[in-house]
Amino acid sequence: MTTTTASSVSRQSGLWAHLVYVLRDNPVTLLSFALFAFFVGSAVFGPLLVPYDPLATNAAQALQPPSFSHWFGTDNLGRDVFSRVIVATRLDLSISVAAVALSFVIGSVLGAIAGYWGGWLDAVLNRVFDTIMAFPLFVLAMGIVAALGNTIENIVYATAIINIPFYARLVRAEVNIRRESGFALAARLSGNSHWRVLAFHIFPNALPPMMVQVSLNLGWAILNAAGLSFIGLGVRPPEPEWGIMVAQGADFVVSGHWWVALFPGLWLMLAVFTFNLMGDGLRDIVDPRRRT
């Protein structure tokens, strides 16, 4: 027992020092972590805290510009844009987290197996991923949602499917370069089965680049889901969701009612921006040399 605590302590202190160093060196990463906490907070507590019911219409208050009582103004039905933007956080984050989690798990398993054993399985999986990647991914997502039916779950599945090849390819490459590495061979000499070598020795070493990918992908998944609902797939009105809100607001922009589209769009952008910054920051932490 003592051995494991001792080792984890020394490891954590090294990681901690590195983390502090990276954060001090790059305050933008710190900002991204703070923003991330903000979004998670909005998703968890938002619906409890917002001043108005996001679905309550009020024709008398339609298309009011931002004011003290309505920070982000009101939309054409008199709903409070601020409340709707905050409440939408939960749905948008849930979709992207669920989709990314799904593709992470499936992609990791398939990629690890393909990378370690190679052979016909690798060849078959490669073909399948090639085929998925042969579609412009957003277009494929459109096709999948259109075929499966217009629901939120199907948005999650579609987003997951188009993301799987990225994870699988990444894990495959990471596993493949370590398959014949000294430590993997040494683990086999120590009596580990192939499964154990893969799961406990090789795969953990592939995790850091995966985390970077996860962060970048979360942003991308949000964009994707919002894009789908923007063209009328998945989430349906009056449910508050950033993409739909921008779509609805678009009609009023040409008449000068900018706030209806601006705030949900801004929030969407900020969320994606946060995940991208965080991904870059994680990349710095994981591998300072690959900083781009």
Partner: protein, 552 residues
Amino acid sequence: MLSIKDLSVGFRTRRGDVQAVRGISLELAKGETLGIVGESGSGKSVTSFALMRILDAGGSITAGEVTYSGIDLRRASERDMRTVRGREISMIFQNPRAALNPIRKVGHQIEDVLRQHARATRNDAREKAIQALRDVRINDPEARYHAYPFELSGGMCQRIVIALALACDPRLLIADEPTTGLDITTQKAVMDLSQELIRARGMGSILITHDLGLAAQYCDRLAVMKDGEIVETGPAQQVFADPQHEYTRRLVEATPRPDATVRSLLPEDRRPPELTHTPSETPLLEVRDLRKTYAGKAGPVHAVKGISFTVNQGQSVGLVGESGCGKSTTSSMLVRLLDTTDGEILYQGTDLAQIPAEQFGKHPLRGDIQMVFQDATDSLNPRHSARACIAEPLRRLAGLRGKAVHERVEELAELTGLPANLLDRFPHQLSGGQKARVGIARAIALDPKFLILDEPTAALDVSIQAVILNLLADLRARLGMSYLFVSHDLNVVRLLCDEVIVMQNGEVVEAGPTEQVMSAPQHPYTRALLAAAPRPPERLNTTPLLHEVHNA
């Protein structure tokens, strides 16, 4: 011709400023060959980059003077430097394949240099480039002109780098580890060629290398560097034969020579008495007609073509050959990581070749046959501490748990000379030598009877290599293991092994007792290998004298 005075080079890094070179001074006369020798991190390459002013970003000359034929290289404008580089001073690098532009024909790369320095016009550039290739003895230069670097062997690429460096008849050539990573026979060919060309053109040259023997053989004068400083300079013979500085002496002693014993590699005052090991006549491992054939794109590739040999109990056998000779394939099969195509591996009468590599992990004999890997860094899981690495076979194969693991790990650490307080460190926090010890501790954790050493010291500096070789010798004597020592270096193999097997193209070309093979090689390939090894000058007979002083 070249004069360096109090040169200091600093790098701005994430951890603040680092001084890579600290006030060194050197002189190079016309037509002279100077060797700069040092272990990794001694600042020898940085010195050469500094005087060419091609330091990486963040590096700069912080003090001192560099003068070449009256030109102040430190203050010269970038435009002036460009005419100096290539025309006055040229450079060749290690890893020749990476040193060439991968997507440009080699002939065109030579033309680029010729035309940059106005040594050729559009019309005659091609002809002159081919001539440059011919000068470095490239067969069929007209065809090679159109080759890309990836189509050529490492030795061939280095010849092209030399052709490129000498294309504009510079008067000084700086060679930075020009043969590291090349096979030993190729190394000799490349070194002989460059020496001949330098002499023929009356050029000066600087050879930067970690290999003291190589430097002593090819250089007039040596400068030994350590931690950014020059600790000793002098005529090559003298530096080697009668080193003045403590560090030089250690370096000279640690360099494997034909007359050295494993103990004599260590510093004088740190030589424990030699432990004797006595190989028995009982065979431990008998290999019979072992074959391995891979399915290649252009038909089957015969990596190992039916080799046979025997390793007796307690005996050490060296397996020597150049890259691609099949020695690694052989060791993978013996350690049962790779299935054989044909043949027998009799271990105390059991034919291990019958057991698929896949299932050998759970075989009771797994603990008996272990391996120390070539690159210690690569062989340790970056996410496991040294303790976890060593404990792995104890947990998985011996079924030890808790305190028993703990105690055995500490015991192994002591046995391999690894300080117990380093056990909780991760590989990146350990030095090369310490990592090698962890790898050895893991390999001997289960008291194996047969240990395969796959170039265990190839990636180490010579002084560390000396220590690790001694450790291996001691462990053998104390634990009675048999070794199969796989290496490309006969001089290193000789220190540990009772018998040697020389492999070429998947076949055994010569085998026998080490001394016999070394002193009277029968096969021409063995002779070529021996001849190619750098032959440092004989040491003066100063050791006994020092001994007396030391004893007194």
